[in-house]
């Protein structure tokens, strides 16, 4: 994996290997939160920041603590604890120094802990054996890709408010179909770059 340039990984993780549309990560909050564009955007930003921080921390923990000690199998516990701690810390820092952003994000910050995209990115970077620089590119790209998808979905859902949707499909059903269509559209990007 060493030869792939970080820039390629960055672009690929936004478009061709989008976290939601091709790896299905972070679906829970994706469906629940994507009703309004501003909140989706706020959540997307928060996810991107947390992704960037946790991937670096997890990378360093894995490379310099778990591997030398031969404790690779403990990675799930270590990763989830470091993610929870990062989110908690970020919450305190934001509350102290950037209260506006803190109140804008509100409930979404703690919810990020259980967003599978965060843990997923950390696990992917271990499995694909990225270097530190590649991991940073991958995590920021994934965060931006996630934001792009959720904001686009929120925009489409806004337009759908007055559409006559069959009763059984309302809510999650139609959201999944829109996501499916978006995923099909994103397949069109797959000619640009490809990672795995």
């Amino acid at each position: 994996m060493l030869e792939i340039s970080p820039f390629v990984i960055f672009i690929a993780s936004i478009f061709t290997n989008n976290m939601i549309l091709s790896n299905f990560l972070g679906m829970c909050s994706f469906i629940a939160v994507s009703k309004e564009i501003p909140t989706s955007f706020g959540l997307g930003q928060a996810v991107t920041v947390v992704l960037a921080i946790t991937s670096v921390i997890n990378y360093l923990l894995y490379e310099y603590v778990l591997i030398p000690l031969g404790l690779e199998y403990l990675r799930f516990i270590v990763f989830i604890v470091s993610i929870a701690a990062t989110v908690q810390l970020l919450e305190m820092i934001l509350e102290r120094y950037l209260p506006n952003l803190y109140y804008a994000l509100g409930i979404f910050l703690p919810l990020i802990t259980v967003n599978c995209a965060i843990l997923g990115v950390s696990l992917f970077m271990i499995i694909r054996e990225y270097t530190l620089i590649q991991s940073i590119a991958f995590s920021i790209g994934s965060g931006l890709g996630w934001t792009l998808a959720i904001v686009a979905l929120a925009g489409i859902r806004k337009k759908l408010e007055n559409a006559p949707i069959p009763k059984g499909l309302q809510g999650p059903g139609i959201t999944l179909i829109i996501t499916g269509l978006m995923a099909m559209a994103f397949i069109g990007f797959s000619g640009i770059v490809q990672i795995q």
């Binding site: 829970c28 469906i31 604890v81 599978c116 843990l119 696990l123 009763k167 059984g168 499909l169 499916g180």
Partner: protein
């Protein structure tokens, strides 16, 4: 424990309150591993094991866990069992472990387990919690198998890797790709919702 109570828990977990279709929980992995039936079966069984046994554990220690740290304790318990599953898969089914990739680890953040822990195991004795967790896990497994059946049949012309459709079948590549997973899950939810509505109006 009364028999009808167990069967009621199972009916709820698998049908009436199916975690994937009704509560829309845990769909990340439900969509990702369903391109092959074998993957879905293993994933479903792994999740059933983790949900059941972690519900049991959480229920056993529920009286000793302080309220404000219970979340982190639950996550740690779940993570411990997921590690067991991961090591087991790596040792006995290395191919499967590769195919499932990060999704085994992602069982930790699967909302079904936390959901059952919060909604049921926190307030019920251990044995019913165990059944409840297993029922929710089986509900998840059935949905996975249903989606995987269509995707594998139409995408590869096989079931559990055995060719069933013969030479004349042209595989639908779209079925193996992500969009089909979204569409099929939406259709399943649609069918179930319409059926439930019919029952309510009757």
């Amino acid at each position: 424990m009364a028999k009808e109570r167990v069967s009621k828990i199972f009916k709820q977990g698998i049908l009436n309150e199916n975690p994937v279709l009704v509560q829309i929980l845990g769909i990340c992995s439900a969509l990702a591993v369903t391109n092959l039936m074998m993957n879905s079966l293993i994933m479903g069984l792994a999740l059933t094991f983790v949900t059941g046994i972690s519900s049991f554990t959480i229920s056993v220690i529920r009286q000793f866990t302080p309220k404000h740290v219970r979340m982190i304790i639950q996550v740690l318990i779940i993570a411990a069992y997921v590690i067991i599953v991961d090591i087991f898969l790596k040792a006995y089914m290395p191919e499967m472990s590769k195919a499932l990739g990060p999704y085994v680890g992602l069982i930790i953040t699967n909302c079904i387990i936390m959901g059952r822990a919060e909604a049921y195991a926190q307030v019920n004795p251990p044995i019913p919690s165990l059944w409840d967790g297993i029922a929710a896990g089986l509900g998840y497994t059935f949905v996975l198998l249903a989606i995987a059946f269509v995707r594998e049949l139409m995408g590869f012309g096989t079931i559990f890797g055995m060719p069933v459709l013969g030479e004349w079948w042209t595989p639908w590549t779209i079925m193996v790709m992500p969009p089909a997973a979204f569409f099929l899950l939406a259709i399943l939810i649609w069918v179930l919702n319409s059926k439930r509505e019919g029952e309510v109006t009757k």
